[in-house]
């Protein structure tokens, strides 16, 4: 059974000035443990799609299902990671990690154990008592990911999580985040405008059209070298350029089917 399912989903925004139809006729099904990247022109509705899955927005048409149940509001099964880390300056790193658990009134001792374990595992153990401003951008974003993981979601929504970082950091961090997500066995939906990031991290790349946005194509990303390649290696794999060019052209509006 699919873990995330969108059935003929449409969403329009209403403002006093105008009605914006962001999404139209979206049908999507994502299996447990799958990693799907979403690319598309800016303003096409990628963030909107994530908000729908997170339950922060209700579709104006169609249904969103998680584990076969209709999404009616934010759910414990879903963790959201935004472009900016939004660590709270008035809390140290460790206490920032507990924000989600506190809000959801989860077992705090368990959350604390989990937080220190993840901090250690991902190389930030010595920074637990530091203020967020003492960390580099890449470290802050890793803390933000751990904050999401401490709340123990099954599904991770990542909205351009690396786009505020410099190129070198984002290459390194996307590799790390990929391993963390796979290791923790989470289902992931990643929005990015960086094609190489989309291809090297995901099992599937979903391309969206201009607004009102529909799914214009879905690319299964498979490499001859076999599964389990790290994003770093995938960027060097033989088929990488084929995927890259196909999706690039498609985004430019020339739809070239990949053979």
């Amino acid at each position: 059974m699919a873990q995330i399912e969108l059935k003929d989903v449409g969403l329009s925004y209403f403002t006093p000035k105008q009605e914006t139809e962001a999404l139209r006729g979206i049908n999507l099904s994502i299996r447990h443990g799958e990693f799907v990247s979403i690319v598309g022109p800016s303003g096409c509705g990628k963030s909107t799609l994530l908000s729908l899955v997170s339950g922060m927005l209700k579709p104006t048409k169609g249904n969103v299902l998680i584990d076969g149940e209709e999404v009616t509001g934010t759910s414990r099964k879903v963790g959201y990671m935004l472009q900016h880390d939004h660590l709270f300056e008035w809390r140290n790193v460790f206490n920032n990690l507990l924000v989600g658990a506190e809000i959801r009134k989860m077992d705090l001792n368990r959350a604390k154990r989990k937080a220190s374990e993840l901090l250690e595992r991902y190389g930030l153990g010595e920074f637990a008592q530091h203020g967020p401003s003492q960390l580099s951008g890449g470290m802050r974003q890793r803390v933000a990911l751990i904050r999401t993981l401490v709340a123990e979601p099954d599904i991770l929504l990542l909205d351009e999580p690396f786009s505020a970082l410099d190129y070198q950091t984002r290459l390194k961090l996307s590799d790390e985040v990929f391993h963390i997500i796979k290791e923790q066995g989470k289902t992931a939906l990643l929005v990015t405008h960086d094609l190489s990031e989309a291809i090297s991290m995901a099992d599937r790349v979903m391309v969206m059209s201009k607004r009102p946005s529909t799914i214009s194509s879905m690319h299964d990303i498979r490499f001859e070298e076999g599964g389990g390649l790290s994003p770093w290696k995938k960027r060097e794999a033989g088929l990488y350029n084929r995927y890259f060019n196909a999706i690039w052209k498609e985004l430019e509006g020339h739809v070239v089917p990949i053979i």
Partner: protein, 266 residues
Amino acid sequence: MSSRLYDNYLKVQKRRQRLIVLSRLSVLAAFLLLWELAARWGWVDPMLTSKPSQLLSSFRELAFEGNLLRHTWITGLETLVGIIISMLIGTVIAVLFWWSTFASKVLEPYIVVLNALPKVALGPIFYIWLGDRYSIYGMAVAISIIVTIIMVESGFKEISKTKLKLMESFGASKIQMLRMVLLPASIPHFIATLKVNVGLTLVGVVMGEFLSSKAGLGYLIIYGGQVFQMTLVMVSITMLALLSAILYGVVNLLERYARRKYHYEG
């Protein structure tokens, strides 16, 4: 190991800093000296301007025999109470406005008008409603509360929407957003508001004392004016300046403490 050039740089900086402090004090000294000489040599009428030496002696007199310190204490206490009331009520109202956009929209024009209204005009009303003692608090709060509401509210609005979106993504309630984000993130704004309020509330208190009171520095000033004792007026004004400097210093200490505790910049 710091380099010679850097040591040199530090030395220059330090010297400059010392020069600034020294110049500050000289300005005050020059002012007092000029005042004294002008009064002594008859450039101005000491009946109207008094003079520093006279201020000093009558300060001693008033402080030890009169009730100058008691009056200062009263004004200080009234200001403190006024600030606390304004901050509390103002913050509560700002929170309500954040909570209900509808209420905030409805009341917005009233706030604007009340902000522009000269609060002194309300003096007689406070006097009749609250009596001579509590009307001082009425005046102090009237002058500072609207600004408190506006400043705290604009602080809330400055808190990034996406910080609240993060809270929302975890399913946070409004109370949780308030407690975990809005209030802690507003600490720098609270301090800034406090700084403004020290000045405003003091104005309100002195104004209130002018209108109705039987004690406090405002009362002393009015009284001194009525019996044509410029020295008393000047001494009271000096005490007011001192009082506001002390209150301001306290807020600055508070700011330094908060900055260390909550790690905010700016």
